[in-house]
């Protein structure tokens, strides 16, 4: 297998999640699901925006193909992060999926109003979570045509 080809075919996913357990769990499940996914992690909203805007230590950060965004985050709330992404001409074309434990109707409605691309609630059972990650991979990272702006900014 050609090393260059692998490099060029991988997908970058930004996971915005503050719980280390959830981060690790998501990493594990993604690793089992699709080896070609590079999962980058921002543990709060401020860091997520810095990553997306390549600020500070994130100056060399890749433009993610998909953002998985938790709603309840320290420093900058996930709803604010979502609003910022969708208000930013450079970032708004990145599909942003809400992945949260909240099943509140208010959160769901608000997220879609802020133009979230879809809203998923984290299931409590591991197996169900694995199935969900598979679905994300099958749909958002496999079937869906994503804009090719890898080098853009």
């Amino acid at each position: 297998m050609n090393h260059i080809e692998v490099e060029s075919s991988h997908l970058d996913v930004l996971l915005v999640e503050d719980s280390p357990g959830d981060v690790r769990l998501t990493k594990e499940v993604f690793r089992d699901t699709n080896i070609d996914i590079h999962l980058h992690v921002a543990s709060d909203g401020v860091e997520a925006m810095a990553f997306l805007r390549r600020e500070g230590e994130h100056v060399n950060a890749p433009r993610p193909d998909l953002i998985l965004l938790d709603l309840n985050l320290p420093k900058m709330d996930g709803r604010v992060v979502l609003a910022n992404i969708k208000a930013d001409a450079n970032l708004k074309s990145i599909p942003t999926v809400i992945l949260t434990t909240s099943e509140s109707e208010v959160d769901i409605v608000k997220s879609y109003r802020l133009q979230a691309n879809c809203y998923l609630s984290k299931p409590v059972q591991l197996e169900a979570f694995e199935n969900l990650v598979k679905s994300i991979n099958d749909f958002w990272l496999t079937k869906v045509k994503l804009p090719q702006q890898r080098q853009g900014g």
Binding site: G21, D22, L25, T101, K122, V124, L126, E127, F129
Partner: protein, 532 residues
């Protein structure tokens, strides 16, 4: 007119309380054109005329029991005294004639110079009409309606004064009847005039406010009801007194009462108008609502703490889910990756951890479902129970097919229900019928019948294991199970949820059963007719 329609006591009306309007008496005493009044106007007229007129005048005055009528000299000493005055004020003529009329005033009024002031004002204006407190011989006080008239001779010299007064608090036939009714009333009753002064009250009012009757008569009602009452009586440019009052009639108004000792208590007052010779009086029925307020507060508090408890259960189980998700997920990962790679003890320990975490997840999910019965319930609407049953059976399709269960039902009615919850009740009861089975084919029948209260009694009858009667209560309690976990799975939530749902619908649920002979669960729901 609205006012007269609402009149409480029809016989207490204009002209009936007194035997003669004050105005006519005033004319008799004052009008120079009147024969008997001339005597007063001109005491120095010829003797025969004087005797004749005096006779008529005295006869007239003596007939009058309802009014105190007497004359004063220019300095206020009593010079004449009629029967009414004797009766009302308690002095015989010989006891009072020659004494100054300040004896009829309270010491406070005398101190303030009120008697002198009264004479001065009357002398200036010729006539002075007012209501005020008077003191009887025995020291007791009463509210009087008073007309003071300056008496002048033909040359215009001040010769003295005449007072015509009536005891407003005094018993007359109809007033007595009214007072009797007041006393019979269970509530404190206070009658107030348009100036906001108390003219009549009952013994309950004395007790409630801690005053003696004579301490309240003539006082401003503001003293016992500081706010909200007197203001309601006020007529202004835009409305008459009757209109001001009409807006308040028949409404319970919650205000604060103040006792003599200064303590305050919540009251509810109901106002009704009472027409009298003094104009419209207002009768206020005053109820001490301290107890009701306390009960209301308790009920409110109870509801609040119940709500808080429900909220707590919901929040606690919701928040517990998060760390538990971590425990369950990682023990599961641990089991998958390391089963058979450590030793047999490790496998066993991991197995218990995984099992414990899974069971806890189920418990928490069930607890959430249980608290959602109340927190996430929908309104009760017309619901076809047969459709609810059909959906429950659809949800149970797997279990029904697996067990070859035969589920039958009679025609079922439309009821007032939250459809989602009714589906759940059917689903849980039928599911139990299928689950708790002897080897054999589960047979379950659902029917409904009307009871005497026009409620629908639903029955779900199965041919399962049956329940020992000693557990009839216990099975409806949350997380109570009758079987070991390895016999039947489940947390013991199903019937608890059924009970909570049925109770939320205003019904009850119960079971009839014998071990080995199946069970029949019954619950009742309100029919949908007569409601919208």
């Amino acid at each position: 007119m609205e006012m007269s329609k609402k009149r409480l006591f029809p016989d207490v009306v204009q002209g009936h309380i007194g035997t003669m309007p004050l105005e006519r008496l005033y004319d008799l005493v004052h009008d120079p054109g009147n024969a008997s009044a001339k005597v007063v106007e001109a005491p120095n007229s010829p003797e025969e005329s004087l005797r004749d007129s005096e006779e008529k005048y005295r006869m007239l005055l003596d007939e009058i029991q309802d009014y105190a009528i007497f004359m004063l000299d220019p300095r206020g000493a009593v010079v004449s005294w009629n029967a009414g005055a004797e009766r009302i004020k308690g002095y015989k003529a010989e006891e009072i004639v020659g004494h100054n009329f300040s004896a009829f005033f309270s010491p406070e009024d005398v101190k303030q110079g009120m008697p002198e002031e009264l004479l001065r004002v009357t002398a200036t204006n010729g006539r002075h009409e007012f209501q005020g407190m008077r003191v009887r011989k025995d020291g007791s006080r009463f509210l009087a309606s008073i007309i003071f008239i300056a008496l002048r001779d033909l040359a215009g010299n001040l010769r003295g004064f005449s007072e015509i007064s009536r005891d407003l608090s005094e018993s007359k036939e109809s007033a007595a009847k009214y007072r009797g009714l007041l006393e019979a009333a269970p509530d404190a009753m206070v009658v107030v005039n348009q100036s906001g002064e108390i003219v009549l009250l009952n013994v309950q009012a004395e007790k409630q406010f801690g005053y003696r009757r004579d301490e309240l008569i003539g006082q401003k009602v503001k003293n016992i009801i500081p706010q909200g009452f007197a203001e309601r009586l006020i007529a202004d440019g835009t409305r008459t007194a009757a209109e001001a009052l009409a807006q308040q009639i028949g409404m319970g108004i919650e205000l604060t009462g103040r006792r003599k000792n200064g303590s305050e208590f919540p009251i509810e007052i109901m106002l009704s108008p009472l027409e009298s010779t003094e104009g419209i009086l207002v009768t206020a029925a005053i109820r001490d609502i301290t107890t009701r307020k306390k009960t209301d507060a308790h009920v409110l508090e109870l509801n609040r703490s119940n709500e808080e408890l429900g909220q707590f259960a919901y929040v606690a189980s919701h928040d517990l889910q998060e760390p538990l998700r971590m425990v369950a997920s990682f023990t599961e990962l641990l089991a998958r990756r390391y089963r058979g790679k450590l030793d047999s003890d490790a496998d066993e320990f991991i197995g218990f951890a995984v099992d414990g975490a899974r069971r806890m997840q189920r418990l928490i999910q069930d607890l959430l479902a249980y608290s959602r019965v109340d927190t996430k319930g929908n309104d009760l609407v017309h619901t076809a129970s047969e459709e609810a049953l059909r959906r429950a059976l659809m949800n149970l399709r797997g279990a029904i097919e697996e067990s070859s269960a035969q589920v039958t039902h009679d025609p079922l009615p439309t009821v007032m229900a939250d459809q989602r919850q009714l589906i759940q009740v059917f689903q849980n009861l039928i599911g139990n019928g299928i689950k708790y089975q002897n080897p054999g084919v589960p047979r379950i029948h659902i029917s409904a019948a009307r009871n005497a209260d026009k409620k629908w009694i639903f029955s779900v009858k199965d041919n399962g294991l049956g329940i020992d009667p000693q557990y009839f209560e216990k099975i409806f309690v949350i997380f109570q199970r009758l079987h070991k976990r390895d016999e039947f799975s489940g947390t013991g939530i199903g019937l608890a949820i059924c009970k909570r749902i049925v109770e939320r619908h205003g019904g009850t649920i119960s079971v009839e059963s014998q071990l080995g002979h199946g069970s029949t669960f019954t619950f009742d729901l309100a029919g949908s007719e007569g409601k919208s």
